[in-house]
Symmetry: D2
Subunit: 267 residues, 4 copies
């Protein structure tokens, strides 16, 4: 029995699935609010190996890279995601390299992993090349315990049951500068391929963009020594970023809001 009622043209939502009430999208409309605990490790990689990861017209500024392990909590402006922590919490590993665009220093992200679909989708929309992966990082507590040695933080990344990275930071300085390259203002590539036959090389979206955030707050930055091992298999391209020299480790908190993005150039 066919029901020929005209279908609705009023589907709502910032992302799929778009629905009549618009409350089912995988991601709520911006603004998106974030607060997170960061363990970061600066290191030098092999310039010849990593330079080709920058999309033209970006240029490499230095061989300095930084990996950020972050435990985030998120909410949108209109929903109360923080009331369901399985939806609002996620963990992330971000790899950044030091680039520039038209002479302006700008980090670039070749690889990033999160452990949750909503974070993955918000990332794709901003140009982060997100994949799923499991980040674990040790926590600090106000109480003394052998289970949480003072100032020591360990972090690991595993993807599909394989360990990719393991790092460790022992801070001894309480009020240092931020690590570099920083993820604020990173250059990213937003990208949506076309599956239509003949168009596989002509993506529907392919654009160099710059991350924008507002209401950024940073706690005091603790700094110290670090170790970082890339245990990923040698045949994975991530191994091109294997540390030649580890520089320093950091611990801090960050809060920020995202509801904008800056297009730089079509690619």
């Amino acid at each position: 029995m066919a029901n020929k009622t005209p279908a609705s043209d009023t589907l709502k939502g910032f992302t799929s699935p778009r629905t009549p009430k618009g409350t089912s999208g995988i991601v709520a409309p911006p603004p998106w609010h974030y607060v997170g605990q960061v363990t970061a490790i600066e290191f030098e990689a092999d310039g010849e190996k990593i330079a080709p990861y920058l999309p033209a017209p970006m240029q490499m500024e230095s061989t300095q890279c930084c990996v950020y392990f972050i435990e985030w909590q998120y909410t949108s402006e209109t929903t109360e995601d923080y009331l369901d922590p399985v939806e609002s919490q996620y963990r992330e590993t971000i790899l950044l390299m030091s680039g520039s665009y038209k002479g302006e220093a700008m980090a670039y992200c070749p690889f990033i992993w999160v452990d949750q679909d909503k974070a993955l989708m918000r990332g794709l929309i901003q140009g982060w090349p997100k994949q799923l992966g499991s980040t674990h990082m040790s926590r600090s507590y106000a109480l003394e315990s052998k289970a949480a040695p003072t100032g020591l933080s360990a972090a690991t990344l595993s993807v599909n049951g394989e360990r990719y990275m393991a790092g460790r930071v022992q801070v001894h300085e309480a009020d240092a500068n931020m690590p570099a390259p920083s993820f604020a203002g990173s250059a990213l590539v937003r990208y949506f391929p076309d599956l239509v036959k003949g168009n596989h090389q002509q993506p529907l979206v392919h654009e160099l963009v710059q991350l924008k955030s507002r209401d950024v707050q940073i706690s005091k930055v603790a700094k110290g020594e670090a170790m970082l091992d890339f245990t990923v298999m040698a045949d994975h391209e991530l191994s091109d970023f294997s540390p030649k020299k580890v520089l320093a480790g950091y611990r801090f908190q960050v809060a920020l809001t995202v509801d904008d993005l800056k297009p730089l150039t079509k690619l």
Copy 2:
């Protein structure tokens, strides 16, 4: 020490992350090959509640819906994903409703869940509104066991630790017709929003498309009685599709290849 070597413009890959060798993309280039075991349940939903889920100019053909629980195995043409089953296997729950486009009957997918990022990304590219969710379905074995009663299949969907659906099929007919609506040739909406301020309502990609597959094989289709409960909370829009009447249940296998998509109309 700055390294001013011109950055590469030769990043490769069908999806992000795009890299010098092009072997790190979350999804390999098509063709994509799939084989899967399906438990499907046909049911009637409330026409007034579900009609508004169809994007204009689609129209509703009937109130008949079908939910597909599928255990898939996947490989690309050029990679040997089947050698790493954690990457090649995934489970999926697809909800389809009965629509038409310009008079041609065509299923439409309002909701779908997978348990893996590669499947999620291939889905987004085809227009499937994929989110992460956990599908479990019982398996059949050649041996008799109380742990696998003959012809009985149970399936569940949980999302973020909440049970959304539970179904059950007892087949007694060995060679039936396929369930309807069928996912072959489904209408979908590919969609990529624009985060640039002022453009939140002007997506970069917003197009009604039709799923294309080739080299489709279907096993014999077993059919029988079914039960289906939507246990999702009443305030979730999925509850608009709660079964009014369960029609029949099915078990079969399907294999297919995807490397194309048919654009229908810009939205």
Copy 3:
């Protein structure tokens, strides 16, 4: 080709698997050191429904129960588990009721869930009736953010893809007393059944024990209002503990060391 070398009798380890070096046991030998962040909710349950959960000769002291959601970090004395946070971190939901043993007030634990095997095994050894379940609880940050409203903590428990509990605490008092019943000195039942035919009702271990810990530290205890819903299905026995009245919510940190247990009586 048979190798008739006499097998070793020197297998080592505090738990299975016991091995020549003794470094592969699922749990390292005590002492076990813990530090954790707690969200706790006190409530009244139905006395007639819950009294039968106490093992004789325990008696019920009151209908007051308390559920603890805890994010733990753990290390043994001899290993450096904190360097691999995927092994040292886990989350737990503990349900306690108010009992007494020979006139001494003593909490009793009818249900508990953890998300990791090492924690499950350490629990079984102490008499905790542990099962696997997913606890999520919101975190506090030093920075202000809509993603972490000041003083608000939400917590949920899901088991096998079904939501069992959801709670919320808004603290407004910074230095309160601990919630009751407290998990320090809880009565538990250690239990190991015998699978040998005819002995299914004669467990090899069946003993009422009392939890012992040392070097206990408690942070200041924040207190406030709370909500608590048991969303578990009515046919699950956990629903016997559904809150009749929610009393108060708490947030605090705890650190402690375990390497002993006090046997009370054979059951």
Copy 4:
């Protein structure tokens, strides 16, 4: 307000948590029914390294080992677990070595991993030294697909985000003998340590037992070539079992029922 009703002494259940109705135990009372799909790989290990893993008075029969990757479906006699596949399905990796007890050939299990708590607990009760780990193995389908090459099966084991093993089997013989050592009639050690101070070396349960099963059915056994890599870190004792020579691979199904265990000797 104290409620002095005498507590119940009628707690029921084969395992903890034991409750008034006895329907909440992590594991239901036996009989336990199993049916599973197996990928097995026989190999030779280094006799000097593995002999010390056998508990005296067992002796080593040969250096032949076998690893079994199994996808199980389970139900108890009295519950209908197969109706909730998230509870009834699990995946397992079993490592067996060739031992003997009083002159009778008997496999022994030094290491085993499952992905679910109910399976872990049933295992501990039988003496299996179970830990949690993620087993993945490719599936066969009736339809031809590049995603499931005929006769090819891949399997992997990951534990806490680290890859421990990767195997591959290509069968070409349809009706071979079972692999050896076989898990039927394996010798195991049931073990429950005592946490009471001073007793850490005097376990409450420490006994060599022999697995018993009934109503065993085995499908035809397919056999062929195999590869097996132990990718576990060299400092993990599992590396003592690294294959010196891979012998053959197998694919078959097995069904069996367990409700008994044979004690061999106290240890």
